[in-house]
């Protein structure tokens, strides 16, 4: 039995979701597929149910904040793994900061429960349909989402640790 490769996965996803596939690339051997956020739940459900693709394992869910990217400030990244073909792939959805809603995948993977709570806790992304979307690692009465880029770690008056010293000369704060 031949194992499927990244290319097979990409063409299967493209065939199924057509114009919903907004971008794709391969980075360090791992397939990245950007989908319309509203289709991500369906896509993961389909990848999981498909006998050939057999994406059976949810590795993790990550939030990312890109404050400069207008209209797509927040990314939700799902890392999935197919043991049958030993393929890892990333499904990404970009959300505008005004509307941080995406469908929860807790009905597909029970393990998504805390992963989504963590993503909510740090980035404020609302997972619709999540049974219990509360903060998890931070205090319940915290009133901001600490992993967003506007919350800097150091005292804002410090000058020895601003972005210039981290190799990012072009970013205006």
């Amino acid at each position: 039995m031949d194992k499927k490769n990244n290319h097979d996965y990409l063409s299967a996803i493209q065939e199924r979701f057509g114009s919903e596939v907004l971008a794709h690339e391969e980075s360090f051997g791992m397939l990245n597929v950007e989908l319309t956020p509203s289709k991500i739940h369906d896509a993961i459900a389909w990848l999981q149910a498909d006998q050939e693709l057999s994406v059976n394992y949810l590795t993790n869910i990550a939030g990312v904040h890109y404050p400069e990217a207008l209209g797509r400030e927040f990314a939700v990244v799902y890392q999935l793994h197919s043991w049958k073909n030993n393929i890892r792939l990333r499904i990404k959805g970009y959300l505008p900061k005004e509307n941080l809603h995406i469908a929860s995948i807790t009905d597909l993977f029970d393990g998504a429960n805390w992963m989504e709570r963590e993503t909510y806790d740090f980035f404020g992304i609302q997972f619709d349909g999540h049974p219990d979307l509360r903060r998890i690692l931070n205090m319940d009465d915290m009133d901001y989402f600490p992993m967003r880029k506007e919350y800097v770690l150091e005292d804002a008056t410090r000058e020895d640790k601003d972005d210039r010293f981290f190799g990012r000369n072009n970013i205006e704060q």
Binding site: S27, F28, M30, N32, N56, Y57, L58, T59, N60, A62, V64, H65, V77, Q79, W83, N86, R88, R90, F109, D110, G111, N113, W114, M115, E118, F122, I136, L137, N138, M139, P146, M147, L153, E154, K161, D163, F165, F166, G167, R168
Partner: protein, 401 residues
């Protein structure tokens, strides 16, 4: 506990239900996390977890630290097996940089990582013994773990939070003391370990206490994204070392033990067998340890020795460039996973070319499988919940990051 008792969870009469706190600080949580249990007599009806008591914002911290300064953060994830975390992180950066690592370094890393796995599993299994009432069997393996810590000390100077290795290899080579201590460890450990094993593995009391305590089916475990020994105890043979071999694991002959019922006893037995397999891997790696350098040729990341910095212009320049972060870094997204003490420990690194990660996420196996705990202990007596908690080996540092 038998299936029958599990099914006879009394129909809850509100007058009989008590709410008790198991944690945050309780001797048998072995860490700081709270479980609010609703119990009817001894039986747990439901439980609610609170985690995050030692959350230290590692992911946020990592966004302001150069790559080499993130290694000490990883120490504090699963602090029972810090070297695996350290080396996993270093390999993630090396993957981003596209560095080729000498065979000797890979074998050295395998030896260290398997020693760490032995130390991790020894603690977990002896603590299961403690929670089942066997304190003596806790002290026997501790003298063995001590020897592993001495080995860490020879190689890194530290014992618990090891900060082992550097991006590109190790800070120093195995020294003669290390060789001598490792050889004596390989000679004496199997006997001491089998003695420990003989105290618990076929012990009637221990078996009665652990069999059927906190079981989970393979199907449920997969849905919860379990990994590591807890998943293997349910009968699924997923191991990152085999699925995506890193650091030359493909060179070694070892088996992946699996359990059947996914209960506390199976988790214990899987870990016991993994210790034996780890020992086999160490023996193979040590016997075939290749000659060569203990570090890759990576002047942009690997600090030159101090003596050279003071006497050699090139070395001084590189030292300065590394400390001041003048090195160009590739842009990209990397995910690298290693088989940690508790399962798939992954690093998801997004680099924008800056000196620090743009985003770094740790896939912490503890955090992911601990959410299944209420399901595993439902209908169990509290004493079984204690055993289940120690046997899934929740490490607060890894749980809360």
């Amino acid at each position: 506990m038998s299936q029958e008792t599990k099914e006879t969870i009394l129909s809850p009469d509100p007058a009989n239900i008590a709410t008790i706190n198991f944690g945050p600080t309780h001797p048998s949580t072995h860490g700081i996390f709270q479980n609010i249990l609703k119990v009817d007599g001894e039986k747990i009806i439901s439980s609610e977890q609170t985690v995050g008591y030692i959350h230290r914002a590692f992911e946020k911290l990592a966004e302001r630290r150069p790559y080499n300064q993130i290694t000490p953060i990883t120490d504090r994830l699963n602090y029972c097996s810090s070297p695996i975390n350290n080396i996993g992180w270093e390999m993630t950066v090396e993957k981003l940089l596209g560095v080729e690592i000498p065979k000797r370094v890979q074998y050295m890393r395998v030896i260290i990582m398997e020693l760490a796995r032995i130390a991790d599993h020894l603690i977990c299994n002896s603590v299961i013994g403690v929670d089942a009432g066997a304190l003596t069997s806790f002290f026997y393996p501790f003298s063995e773990r001590e020897k592993i810590y001495e080995l860490y000390e020879e190689l890194s100077g530290a014992r618990l939070t090891t900060n082992m290795g550097r991006i590109g290899g190790f800070e120093r080579d195995f020294n003669p003391v290390f060789h001598q201590k490792l050889q004596s460890f390989l000679k004496t450990f199997p006997k001491a370990f089998e003695e420990f094993d003989s105290m618990l593995a076929r012990n009637r009391i221990f078996m009665d206490r652990t069999k059927g305590a906190g079981p989970i089916s393979a199907e449920r475990a997969l849905s919860y994204s379990f990994s590591g020994p807890n998943l293997r105890a349910t009968g699924v043979d997923y191991d990152v070392r085999l699925m995506n071999p890193y650091s030359s694991y493909e060179d070694f002959d070892f088996i992946v033990p699996v359990g059947v019922n996914g209960d506390t006893y199976d988790r214990f037995m899987v870990r016991q067998e993994e210790i034996r397999q780890s020992l086999r891997i160490i023996e193979q790696a040590y016997k075939n340890l290749p000659e060569g350098d203990y570090k890759a040729d990576l002047p942009d990341f690997y600090l030159p020795p101090k003596a050279e910095v003071y006497n050699n212009m090139e070395a001084l320049i590189y030292h300065f460039k590394i400390i001041m972060g003048e090195t160009e870094l590739p842009v990209g997204e990397v995910y690298h996973a290693v088989e940690g003490g508790n399962g798939e420990l992954g690093y998801y690194l997004i680099s924008d070319g800056g000196r620090t990660p743009y985003r770094l996420q740790f896939r912490r196996p503890c955090f992911i499988y601990y959410q299944a705990y209420p399901e595993m202990i439902k209908g169990m007596p509290i004493s079984d919940a204690v055993l289940t908690l120690s046997s899934i080996n929740v490490i607060a540092g890894e749980l809360d990051a």
